[in-house]
């Protein structure tokens, strides 16, 4: 079978699955799956850039997704002026002091000769800087969080259009990735894995606990939207008249209109990024990356700066994941730090990339759409399966009730089985690297 035909067929299959959902369940569910599938596809492209092109093992994807979400709050929410007046500058100067402390310690480490004096100087700088930072920072935070804690209690954002938050999310994630890469790249692959795993947990901890930044677990809700609200459409006579022409009632039509609007936006971003990733893959730069991945020593002997190139692609891939994270928070309309779970946001993306085919951008996109569809649909399918299996038992049977209650956890099991099966029998994925 021709390769192109096979690939088109695979994409058509996923499309058909989503269409079936639309006919069997509801179009709202189908488009919701499509939207999150598109976002997952962008995350997969980012991870594929790191793992497929360069062989970097990043298990901190959740952190970059969350940073993208933070960017939406920081860019699009209106600033809370009273909070800024109460302690905004104090908080900012505290943060600057903290950064200056670390910078001073790094400079001391670089400039001074190794020995006991250097160690003492560094400890003095770090400990002194820490207490100074806390002394400036803490009162500022208290003042900010005291301003209307039930409604705001944080500094707010810049009040810019929400679409601007997407590139900002990419920048924020890129900055974090640069810091991590600077320290952890160049070490062994397992260490990068553990370091990224750790940084993701820390980013989530910061989002949960720093209420002045994005209200922590109190969540920021009601984020601005790039599309009109459903209720506005329903009150718009022109819109109602137009959908009546199609024979739809305005409530359903308005929700479909908004969701499809998001689909269009996401598709545009996905296509741009996919095109860029494809160009990168085919360019001399992409060939160099794969050469480094396949044989670092040989690439180094050819004069390639392996660590610098790794840093470059690590930052690029993380930025793409950050953009996707910002898009996801925009779609949700709220930032809820409590919902970021590593199994869902790190390891599931890995399943997508591996199943789709690492090293192939189309594979990553396909894997993302397929796995996301399964992730959503395994739960009802599992429930149905268990109902069929237990149909012979009495309703009061505790085993039956337990099985039916636990159906929600089937999805983790299924994902594990899929990943292991693909790794075993088709380790190059559905659409292998050329």
């Amino acid at each position: 079978m021709n390769e192109t035909v096979k690939n088109v067929g695979l994409f058509a299959l996923v499309g058909a699955l989503i269409l079936i959902t639309g006919f069997m369940q509801s179009w709202n569910t189908a488009i919701l799956i499509l939207n999150m599938g598109l976002i997952s596809a962008i995350m997969s492209i980012g991870v594929n850039l790191q793992w497929g092109f360069a062989g970097l093992f990043n298990v901190g994807i959740m952190g970059f997704v969350a940073l993208g979400g933070l960017a939406v709050v920081l860019t699009s929410m209106p600033p809370v002026t009273e909070a800024w007046a109460a302690g905004g500058l104090r908080v900012l100067s505290g943060l600057l002091l903290g950064a200056a402390t670390i910078a001073a310690a790094v400079i001391a480490h670089r400039k001074m000769r190794p020995g006991r004096t250097r160690g003492v100087v560094m400890i003095v700088i770090l400990v002194g800087g820490f207490f100074l930072y806390r002394a400036v920072f803490d009162p500022g935070v208290e003042a900010v969080e005291a301003v209307n804690p039930a409604g705001t209690g944080y500094l707010g954002g810049l009040g810019l259009p929400v679409l601007l938050a997407w590139p900002v999310g990419g920048l924020l994630a890129a900055g974090a990735a640069w810091l991590i890469g600077k320290t952890a790249l160049g070490l062994r692959s397992d260490y990068l894995a553990i370091a990224t795993l750790g940084i993701a947990e820390i980013i989530i901890a910061v989002l949960k606990n720093e209420d002045w930044l994005a209200r922590g677990v109190k969540n920021v809700v009601g984020l601005p939207r790039p599309l009109p609200y459903e209720i506005e459409l329903q009150n718009d006579p022109a819109f109602v008249a137009r959908v009546a022409g199609f024979g739809l009632d305005p409530v359903t039509a308005s929700t479909l209109y908004v969701k499809l609007g998001y689909s269009v936006l996401f598709t545009v971003v996905l296509l741009i990024l996919l095109w860029m990733a494809q160009m990168a893959l085919k360019s001399p730069w992409g060939r160099m990356m794969r050469a480094i991945r396949d044989n670092e020593v040989a690439a180094e002997a050819m004069g390639k700066d392996v660590t610098a190139r790794h840093l470059q692609i690590f930052v690029l891939g993380s930025a793409i994941v950050g953009i996707a994270g910002a898009m996801m928070t925009t779609l949700d309309g709220q930032l809820t730090p409590g919902t970021y779970q590593p199994l869902r946001f790190t390891f599931l993306i890995w399943v997508m990339v591996i199943v789709g085919g690492s090293g192939n951008n189309f594979g990553a996109v396909l894997g993302a759409m397929l796995i996301w569809f399964l992730w959503v649909q395994v739960e009802p399918i599992g429930l149905w399966l268990l109902q069929v299996l237990t149909s012979g038992m009495a309703d009061a049977n505790p085993l039956k009730q337990h099985l039916l209650d636990s159906a929600a956890h089937m999805r983790l099991l299924t994902m594990g089985v899929i990943l292991l099966l693909v790794l075993r029998f088709s380790p190059r994925g559905l659409i292998p690297e050329k």
Binding site: T183, D190, A195, H409, L420
Partner: protein, 336 residues
């Protein structure tokens, strides 16, 4: 008197919790380090292995409790522990046969094995949630305290109390016994020596007639025992929640790497380093400083360096410092 009070306060709030948490981390890190030394990959499924072993133990404990079996002042879970270990061993041996053995024969790269262990992690996580559910489970019974704070105050006349929970005592005693047994096994028995030989130099070990499958079999069995014991001790001390066990992966890996991956002594040292730093940095020192500082200089705030929510950050920063200045860990681990 103030000095004594300060010492008791430190012991009560820092030393005792840190030693018991450190023992739990050390046992977990020993499992990670053994797998790394012998099977040569970082096992991401270790947290969930601990959760699985603990889950079996919890279920057996409930069964024993329903039969009316009890262990006097000690928790019933200790009686159930051997069965939990057996359950965990069965799971790991089946996993090895069904999953890992194929890649071993293929001589797959370590990073592939890490990804495979991610798949295993998903399955184990799903299994545990499927069987026992994602909620908090408490299963400790028996006497709550070895030393109660009030009795300690009455006996010594100090104003600070020292409380040692039964679970903390059990954790420390069990950890010492288990570590002693493990080192006796690794250093004195023939199988243990062949395991160390295999870890040090695979080719040479194969050449001298060591059966690799046997070594791997023993490794998984020991890892199952270590993981279950660590998990049960942690669960007795705090409570059993599958997601928390998954999150333990980070401090456990940090302990193993700080000590030097593949080095058992390093794993133990790493566990205690991580535990002590986490507890000291997130402890509010107001009380202790209140005793030590002269009148008038006593601090007003809590003197807590970091809030407890950032305990992950502590293990992470220590990990980073060690990686930057001594990439193979404090005790010179191995590098694949």
């Amino acid at each position: 008197m103030d000095l004594l009070n300060a010492i008791v306060a430190i012991a009560n709030y820092v030393l005792v919790p840190a030693i018991s948490y450190g023992s739990q981390l050390a046992l977990g890190a020993l499992g990670v380090t053994l797998i790394y030394g012998i099977l040569r990959f970082s096992n991401f499924a270790h947290g969930d292995t601990m959760a699985f072993g603990t889950m079996v133990t919890v279920l057996v404990t409930w069964w024993f409790q329903s039969l009316g079996v009890s262990f006097g002042p000690l928790p019933t879970a200790l009686l159930a522990l051997p069965l939990g270990i057996l359950g965990c061993m069965a799971l790991l041996l089946v996993t090895d046969r069904a999953v890992y053995r194929f890649y071993r024969q293929q001589k797959a790269k370590p990073v592939i094995l890490v990804i495979v262990s991610m798949g295993v992690m998903f399955i184990m996580n799903g299994l545990v949630r499927f069987i026992i559910g994602p909620d908090d489970q408490r299963f400790s019974d028996g006497a709550r305290f070895i030393i109660k704070a009030r009795e300690f105050k009455q006996a010594t006349g100090l104003s600070e109390g020292l409380a040692i929970k039964t679970t903390q005592g059990i954790t420390i005693v069990t950890a010492v016994v288990v570590v002693a047994l493990l080192f006796w096994f690794l250093n004195r028995t023939r199988t243990g020596k062949s395991m160390r030989a295999y870890s040090d130099n695979e080719d040479l070990a194969l050449l001298s007639g060591i059966n690799p499958e046997r070594v791997v079999l023993y490794t998984w069995m020991i890892v199952a025992a270590l993981a279950t014991i660590a998990g049960v001790l942690y669960g007795l001390d705090k409570s059993f929640k599958p997601f928390v066990y998954f999150q333990l992966l980070l401090p456990i890996f940090a302990s193993a790497i700080v000590g030097g991956l593949g080095n058992p002594i390093g794993a133990i040292a790493g566990g205690f380093i991580i535990a002590f730093s986490e507890v000291t940095i997130t402890y509010a020192w107001k009380k202790v400083l209140g005793y030590l500082m002269p009148e008038g200089l006593q601090p007003e705030g809590l003197v807590q360096l970091l809030s407890t929510d950032y305990k992950f950050a502590v293990s992470f920063v220590i990990l980073l410092i060690v990686l930057l200045f001594r990439p193979t860990g404090l005790f010179r681990g191995k590098a694949v």
